[in-house]
């Protein structure tokens, strides 16, 4: 099954007189990690919201493969294979890690009718298998039956990521996945991202941590004032004079 590519075409989002996102085009091809950087207020979070469907663009379109998903709600997008994680890990805090993952597996397709009657759903066993594999591959087996409300941030990030992966996504949108993680955790997390991308998933990464973005990403979009000012390989973007002056010179990166 071929994975779909996520594309943003001429996205515009205005808040009153302010144009937060000004004709942004970007694409996230399968198997690559795409980074989105920019100083505060550059519009990267807005772009992220437009991609996930939390907000609607005033102009432009969001395409997943050949399909226009601009008007779809987040849950519908998710069922089509566009899955996001949050800046603050948002797990189901009264459920165990395993059940969190099960929710991810179970809702990829829309068939609640079977679920209404609780038992006897075909493929239930397969759901369990998927979850078990995911838990094992992310090293979460030991906390599988722990209620997520009690887990610390590092494990939550991982569990949220696992839950997102359980939906078998084509595109994974990560909002500041490294916030709240220490250096060692960030390092492990970026290795995990590489592994996911190697399976053909398109990953879009929005993060303040320039180091993370430049080391892990295959291509980087740099935004300033709602526009994309530079796009290309990490090295190229890093060398871009606009990025240098606007972003890197602000002391975020020594």
């Amino acid at each position: 099954m071929s994975r779909a590519e996520l594309r943003a075409v001429g996205l515009v989002r205005r808040y009153g007189g302010l144009t937060a996102v000004d004709h942004v085009d970007m694409s996230a091809p399968p198997g690559l990690i795409t980074g989105l950087i920019g100083p505060n207020g550059a519009g990267k979070s807005t772009v992220f919201s437009l991609l996930t469907g939390v907000e609607q663009p005033d102009e432009g379109a969001v395409m997943l493969g050949d399909r226009d998903i601009t008007k779809l709600r987040p849950d519908k997008r998710s069922r089509l294979g566009l899955v996001q994680t949050f800046q603050v890990p948002s797990l189901f805090t009264s459920m165990t890690v395993r059940d969190n993952l099960l929710v991810g597996v179970e809702n990829r397709r829309r068939d609640y009718a079977g679920g209404l009657f609780g038992r006897g759903i075909r493929g239930n066993a397969r759901h369990d298998e998927v979850v078990d594999e995911m838990l094992a591959s992310l090293g979460l087996t030991d906390v599988a039956n722990v209620i997520t409300g009690s887990l610390p941030t590092g494990a939550l990030r991982l569990a949220e990521c696992a839950r997102a992966l359980c939906t078998h996504p084509d595109v994974l949108l990560l909002d500041e996945p490294a916030s709240g993680l220490d250096a060692a955790e960030t390092e492990r997390f970026s290795q995990l991202l590489r592994r996911i991308a190697a399976n053909g998933v398109a990953i879009v990464l929005v993060d303040h941590d320039v180091d993370l973005v430049f080391t892990v990403c295959d291509q980087v979009y740099a935004m300033v004032g709602g526009r994309v000012v530079a796009h290309g390989s990490p090295a190229a973007v890093r060398a871009d004079p606009t990025v240098q002056s606007v972003y890197l010179a602000q002391g975020t990166k020594a």
């Binding site: 996001q84 009264s94 609640y112 209404l116 590092g154 492990r188 290795q191």
Partner: protein, 776 residues
Amino acid sequence: MISVDLAIAGLAIGAIAALSGIGLLVTYRTNGVLNLAQGGIAALVAYVYRQMAVEWGLPKWLSAVIALAILSPLLGLLLERFVFRPLARRRASAAESLVASLGVLVLTLGMCAGIWGLGSKNDTPPLFPNKSVGISGHRIGVDTISTLVLIVVCCVALGVVQNRTKFGRQMRAVVDDRQLAELSSVPADRVAAVGWAFGTTLAGFTGVLLAPRLQLSPYGLSLVVLETFAVVVAARLASLPIAVFAGLAIGILQSELTQFKVDGQFADVYRSLESNLFVVALLVLLLAIPKLRELGDAGSAGRFSSRGAPDAAGTVEERSKDLVWKLAGFIMLLAPLLFRPADLRSAFDVPAVALILLSMVIVTGYSGQVSLGVAGYAGLGALFSLKLANGDFLGLPRLPGLLAILVGAILVAPVGLITGYPAIRRRGLTLALTTFAVGAVVSQFVFEQPKFSSGLYVNALYLGGWQLNDKAFYIIELVGLGLGLLAVRSLHRGRLGRALLAVRDNSGGAAAVGVDVRNLKLIAFTMSSVVAGLGGALLVQGASSFSSTTFQPIQSLLWFTAMVVFGADSAVGAIIGASLIVAIDVLAPSGSSTLAIGILALSLSWLPGGLASAVRGLVRFVAQRLADQFVEPEELPRPTRRTPVPAGLGAAIPRPAVPADAATWASQQTSRMGDADPAGASATAPAAVWVSGPLAAGTTGIEAAERVAAERGLTLTSFGRALLGTLGAGATGAADLIPAPAAGQVTPSGSRPAAGQPAGSVPAASSSNHLEGGRR
């Protein structure tokens, strides 16, 4: 077109509504609590005023001073000090405050009904002289003028205090962020107390002013006051001037409506509109205003759990406690079959009320939405089934009684779907008020209409040609309850249950992984309305008559409060709640059950999680005592806590050294206490290990207990062995008998004891580095 005289007449009611609105707004803005008890307080003060002026013969002015200047503010201060301050202290959610204010409402109503009866009194002396003043040819009542003056005084005083004084600045700081204000040494409690006292004083005024105009009855008066919520909704819970304007405007409009005559089919409907414009305005405004300016976390989904504030999604230990709960419910249900015929008839209400409570468990307990309109759906179910049985429902053929009940309940589904659709887009207070308004509108425009609700005969039920006797009908009711429980169970288990729980926990996260939040909520809402309809149909069948008072809007609030008190996410709680309500109503004077529920609801301030959790706590305590009997006393040293692995990602796994179920228990404790004191919290964990070890094992209780005991170098006493034997057998038997969902079934896999993992066998080091594992 606009008659000045009618406008003046309407102004009187409008001014009272505005006054009530000011009180509500001030309480809300200073405390973040929308005081649903306003109506109950108004009724209570009015009753006390009448008692003094009429029964005791005190001078009117003295009665008024005592009622309005002493009693009313005192009520507010008491409420603040003993109900709402504890809630604010532990940062209770808006939903909990809502329930607490409902508790106050139910309590005050229960007091009124208990002391003065449910009948209406029409001899309340008017507060102001019954005279009128002529202004350019129109007569305007002194009371209207006085009320208007009072409004102006209130508004001006509030404006001056808020903008010109130190207290006003403190007030605004508290409104903005109570905790932050306190950190800046603002006496938030004092501000809150003043807000409450002001609000209840105006509530008292509302009651005393309304009582002479209407007939004074507990439910009637408080319903009228609740309808004035239209005013604060119009003000979007924020603007005082808009509230006043809306109150006056709706009052005048309602009065102006009387000058038109509408004939034909809609004459009755129009006539009810003339006296119910406020409730219609409430519904229309709620539907038209997408978002009220709710304070704090009011917008978040309510969390009601019988298992303490942070929900423990079912440890094995909890499950064994639920058995006691289930057994109690089951016995209560079967017992009436042995009763004398008259008592059996009284017990008819139990399964019916249980179904109605159960319907709210679906919406509130599982999907976290507050629904205050259940009486409407129950009443519709009753009405539909009776109409079907009488053969005059939309030209449908006449159905046999039992089928009519079932079909009638199912026909509520479209109504639930249509009313649920706008409701589920709203959250928190807005949703609560919307559902209440739906219930009130249905009550006023359907149940109260002779056109719909007269000439309904409740016929005897037949099954296969046999007329059902009382016992058979009771069994039929139990079957209905079983159906309801089955519905709840299917919602509670499997993927749908998990998805609902996910929505309740974090709807953003649920949407992100493809859970169709809206449809799920709609499914839950619709199923809930059907279950309520079934309950209503059975209620009417059992009572052999349809009465609109059975399904009046206030009843929704009583039932909702009862449901929360007895454990919002517990199906068995619903059954026990229903049994107790009916039992109290039969045995004690009217209003007693209301009073009891009110008291219990208020205890929620001190007992997070409600009665159910208090009982659970008690059971846990007893179980711990019992557990101490399992081993020889001299060998009682409690297992010491294994030190959690500190630092880095190792800390990612909380206390991996304790068994899975104990770990969840401990973590639940941790989250309850906040992150501040994880060590202290986990120090209490071993006690749980102690209990959960033996009890958790179920059928193989003895072996497990022996294993656990042996691991700790202890031996089982013969007493412990014998007790475990009986516990184990009884426990599994009961679980099969009652198909109610247990706590553990929220997360079946979570509650499974970690397979093949003997207690404490997970080496701490193995799980400390799961991120590294990810690289493998």
